[in-house]
């Protein structure tokens, strides 16, 4: 006598215990601490914070450990935790021109006020595995003249003075919040940028890359990339004035793109903007390329490439949404499959019936 499959609950519990064991690995090897992750896997932490939309290094480190290093899973953990947090209000906009700079480069100028500051970067390293280096304590780096806190005007403002580049759009209205209101199409730039910041690094990298290869080409120059610390301020309603509540590390990328002009506008450079928590430079650059590509409507350009297709890009950029839906194919679908089976059998029977009729 057949008895229907039972014991889903037991199986799940056992699977979770096994997952815990696998996560721990060989118990003879010391357990990795979240402090170590926070200090030594900083770029992983930065990415989880950026795409998780929550600036909290410690929580991100916990998430990375719990996710066994699977960053999308870690981002997912952060997003789920973020959901439960009450919203007290919105900070005042951060001012990136007041950034305490750790890195600042421009590919558009050889030198500019404030200078090029290389900072911590893989850019000019030789990609050779350093088998010993990981064990040897690094000698402290001699930092250059301690004038890095001098004002560093943003490069795009320098050419902006000449009118060669469009003004940074400052919509007077309050920016929307796509974590509070669902994204609707067509979406304005504020919401597009929010969506892109949360978007998957790999997806945006590929799209940004595609614009460079001619699919929605916009001739970009890395006008400026800056990474460093900015302070965050908040105006509590009961106080009525602004107070500084902390500081965060961010990366900002401003791309300069060609633009041939339109009906009412003479030719000038246009902007693409990218921002991330921490030092997610690749992400910030990709985002800037895609931001520019998505501005086809406002710049009256022809939409020809995937990266210019707002609904396509924004609907598929979120890796938490994407991974959920792809992986949901693992859930049972046997009721629908049964419906298809029944249909397919009927169709085949009918075809065979017709063949027989034809044969007779």
């Amino acid at each position: 006598m057949y008895v229907a499959v039972k014991g889903g609950e037991k199986a799940i519990d056992a699977a979770h215990r096994l997952l815990g064991e696998e996560r721990r690995g060989n118990p003879e090897i010391p357990e990795i601490t979240t402090t170590q992750i926070g200090e030594q896997l900083t770029l992983a932490v930065d990415r989880v914070m950026t795409e998780g939309s929550l600036y909290d290094r410690e929580l991100a480190a916990v998430a990375i450990k719990q996710a066994r290093g699977d960053l999308i899973e870690a981002i997912f953990l952060i997003r789920a935790s973020r959901t439960t947090l009450p919203r007290y209000g919105y900070s005042t906009p951060i001012e990136t021109s007041d950034m305490l700079i750790r890195r600042r480069i421009s590919a558009a100028f050889k030198d500019m006020p404030g200078g090029q500051i290389l900072g911590p970067t893989f850019d000019y390293t030789h990609r050779l595995l350093e088998f010993e280096a990981s064990e040897t304590p690094a000698a402290p780096v001699e930092t250059g003249p301690a004038d890095l806190d001098r004002t560093m005007p943003r490069v795009l403002d320098l050419i902006g003075a000449e009118g060669l580049i469009e003004a940074a759009s400052s919509t007077s209205g309050e920016p929307g919040d796509l974590t509070r209101e669902p994204l609707a199409f067509p979406a304005d730039r504020d919401l597009r940028l929010q969506s892109l910041v949360r978007g998957d690094e790999g997806f945006l990298l590929a799209l940004g890359y595609s614009t460079q290869r001619g699919y929605g080409r916009s001739h970009p120059f890395a006008g400026e990339i800056r990474y460093g610390e900015v302070s965050v301020s908040f105006t509590p309603e009961e106080l009525g004035f602004e107070i500084e509540i902390g500081a965060i590390d961010i990366t900002e990328c401003e791309m300069i793109n060609q633009f041939k002009g339109s009906a009412g506008v003479p030719p000038q450079f246009t902007r693409g903007y990218g921002l991330s928590f921490g030092q997610c430079e690749r992400k910030a650059m990709s985002m800037a390329l895609v931001d520019r590509a998505l501005r086809v409507r406002e710049l009256d350009e022809e939409q020809t490439a995937p990266a210019q297709d707002e609904e396509f890009v924004l609907s598929h950029a979120d890796n938490v949404q994407a991974t959920g839906f792809v992986e949901h194919l693992k859930l049972p679908h046997y009721v629908d499959f049964q419906a298809e089976l029944e249909l397919l059998r009927r169709l085949r029977r009918e075809v065979q019936g017709l063949d027989q009729e034809a044969a007779e």
Binding site: A4, R79, A80, T84, L183, P332, H333, Q338
Partner: protein, 278 residues
């Protein structure tokens, strides 16, 4: 019950936002109301829409039943039921009659529902026009202007190719004579149960950020042609466990020689029928 979280996980602000969307959905049957879907601790596509709807309407006095593929003990149903036990501490049941809220994926219970029950559906793709027209801007217009001709183009193609309509699940229907909607991937066998149902039916799509509803006693008409009317699946044999000939059956493969049997997909209903017979 896990402390540290609000009752049923979501904070009250969020619940209010979802309830507002639900009220709008009930007021405009079948219309997809956008809502600010939150990240939940289960993945998108695994019932986050249904879970958010359930969390927003749940009270401590409720008795919750969760099914997936018609069964209470499928892994995802177990996981969601556990989630609400942990975060809300509500009573749960496997018996359709005893539940005040039933969350479901892919099935409608066989037993007729009552006015004091709410059925919450998990929805992956709420837009019935999506696979005919991928653009949201365009489908929104089509709904607004009631331009549904293209749905019938698909049904026409089915008949031209197969002799009958070849949509077996997620079969589109018109609610209250106005909006065409996707009843979620339930087999079309279940579509007639949505029509004139005594219970409130709520649909939540988390990833796609849409909520819609079929209020009690509302007309739900599956799309068809006058000369090719809508019809549901039938099986040639009864359920091997309870002998039912009127329920949706799952096919169970018994060995590698193609031996198979058919049993009720609604495990609670099947058990009840067996008890009655005994």
């Amino acid at each position: 019950m896990t402390t540290g979280y609000n009752f049923a996980y979501l904070n009250e602000q969020t619940k209010r936002m979802i309830r507002r969307a639900l009220l709008k959905a009930v007021a405009i049957p079948g219309y997809q109301v956008p809502f600010a879907s939150r990240e939940m601790p289960m993945p998108y596509g695994w019932g986050t829409g249904g879970v958010q709807v359930t969390a927003s309407i749940l009270t401590p006095q409720d008795t919750l039943k969760v099914i997936d593929q018609g069964a209470d003990d499928t892994t995802n149903a177990v996981s969601i039921r556990k989630f609400f036990v942990r975060t809300a501490g509500v009573a749960t049941t496997e018996e359709t009659e005893k539940a005040s809220i039933i969350q479901t994926r892919h099935r409608v219970p066989e037993a007729a529902l009552r006015e004091d029950q709410i059925l919450v559906y998990q929805v992956p793709i709420p837009e019935p026009l999506r696979f005919l027209e991928p653009r949201e801007t365009e489908t929104r217009k089509m709904h607004a202007l009631e331009e549904y001709g293209i749905m019938h183009v698909k049904l026409y193609e089915d008949i031209a190719r197969h002799g009958h309509i070849a949509t077996a699940y997620a079969y589109p229907a018109k609610v209250n004579g106005r909006y065409v909607f996707d009843p979620s991937p339930i087999p079309k066998f279940d579509n007639p149960k949505l029509d004139d149902c005594a219970a409130l039916q709520l649909f939540g799509a988390g990833r796609e950020k849409r909520i819609y509803a079929v209020p009690p006693y509302t007309k739900v008409r599956s799309l068809d042609f006058e000369d090719h009317p809508f019809s549901v699946q039938k099986w040639e044999e009864p359920c091997a466990l309870c002998g039912s000939t009127t329920t949706y059956l799952d096919e169970i493969i018994l060995d590698d020689k193609g031996k198979r049997m058919f049993v009720c997909s609604d495990t609670d209903h099947c058990r009840k029928s067996q008890e009655k017979a005994a």
